[in-house]
């Protein structure tokens, strides 16, 4: 059960002042918001689209759109969640355009049972990432997450990589909290299963 919050005790997020200044036409304030969130917005777009050019376009469009719609931002959610939602919508739209024959939605591929039940029970080596240099590790992580259905990797990206709360992830994706939780479980288990190929201890003395 969530703790009951008494009004007035919540800390005011520093973005609130920046957004207010940006609304009043302070360009420097908006620039600062862009600097704060450009990396996050780019990562989200790149994770969803898996295409650098698209991710760059989406990042730019998302900030320009945010600037246009700034008056509509009510402050009911965090500015960053609002931005992420704009970027997610743009990304999903872009993905749909690319795959003209196939519809892409957050519901796609959720029926798949792959990875929902763990099959690989090999322990991982201690600090397994240290067996690879930074470039190799990044390549492994990219390849692994690329193989997830878009709906799963989007939830994993927002919740686990970008550290949004479950509620914020649900809000950004237009999903219910239980839907986010079930996709998150499957995404985590599928990634775990795939990473085991690289990080798992060699199975010794076991029948093949």
């Amino acid at each position: 059960m969530p703790a009951i919050q008494s009004p007035g005790t919540e800390e005011i997020h520093p973005d609130v002042a920046l957004v207010a200044r940006a609304k009043d036409g302070d360009t420097a304030a908006f620039e600062q918001l862009v600097r704060q969130y450009e990396r996050q917005i780019f990562r989200v777009a790149q994770h969803i689209t898996q295409n650098r050019e698209d991710a760059e376009d989406i990042t730019q469009d998302a900030f320009l759109k945010a600037y246009e719609k700034l008056e509509q931002f009510q402050g009911n959610s965090k500015f960053s969640t609002w931005l992420v939602r704009i970027a997610v919508n743009e990304s999903l739209m872009r993905l749909r355009k690319r795959k003209t024959s196939k519809t892409v939605s957050m519901d796609e591929d959720v029926q798949t049972e792959e990875g929902s039940i763990p099959r690989d029970f090999a322990e991982w080596r201690p600090n397994p990432e240290q067996n690879f240099n930074q470039a190799e590790l990044a390549e492994i992580l990219r390849k692994t997450i690329q193989g997830l259905p878009p709906g799963f990797r989007t939830v994993f990206t927002l919740r686990d990589i970008e550290n949004l709360s479950t509620e914020e992830t649900a809000e950004a994706l237009g999903l219910s909290v239980p839907a986010v939780k079930s996709r998150l479980l499957r995404a985590r288990l599928q990634l775990r299963e795939r990473l085991s190929r690289y990080f798992g201890k060699k199975k010794e003395g076991l029948p093949a």
Partner: protein, 78 residues
């Protein structure tokens, strides 16, 4: 707690939203079930390896372009 029950609690476990009673049951289960102990440990490592390693970086060229576009938009809007 069965292995299926354990999996059903995994998300709440990682999100720190599990009740103390269920947390106790999860701990009891993983101390007696090696498979689930491995799943718990390696899933936790999966999350942290993605959290700790930035795999997509903004290029400096794009950052420059982005800021020029933003500035153009802001000045045009005034």
């Amino acid at each position: 707690m069965t292995c299926t029950d354990f999996l059903a609690q995994l998300t709440d476990y990682f999100d720190g939203q599990i009740s103390p009673e269920l947390l106790e049951e999860v701990r009891e289960h993983t101390s007696s079930c090696h498979h689930c102990e491995v799943v718990l440990d390696t899933t936790s490592k999966t999350i942290s390896v993605y959290r700790d390693n930035e795999i997509y970086e903004v290029s400096p060229e794009f950052r420059d372009r982005l800021h020029l576009a933003i500035m153009a938009k802001c000045t045009a809007a005034k």
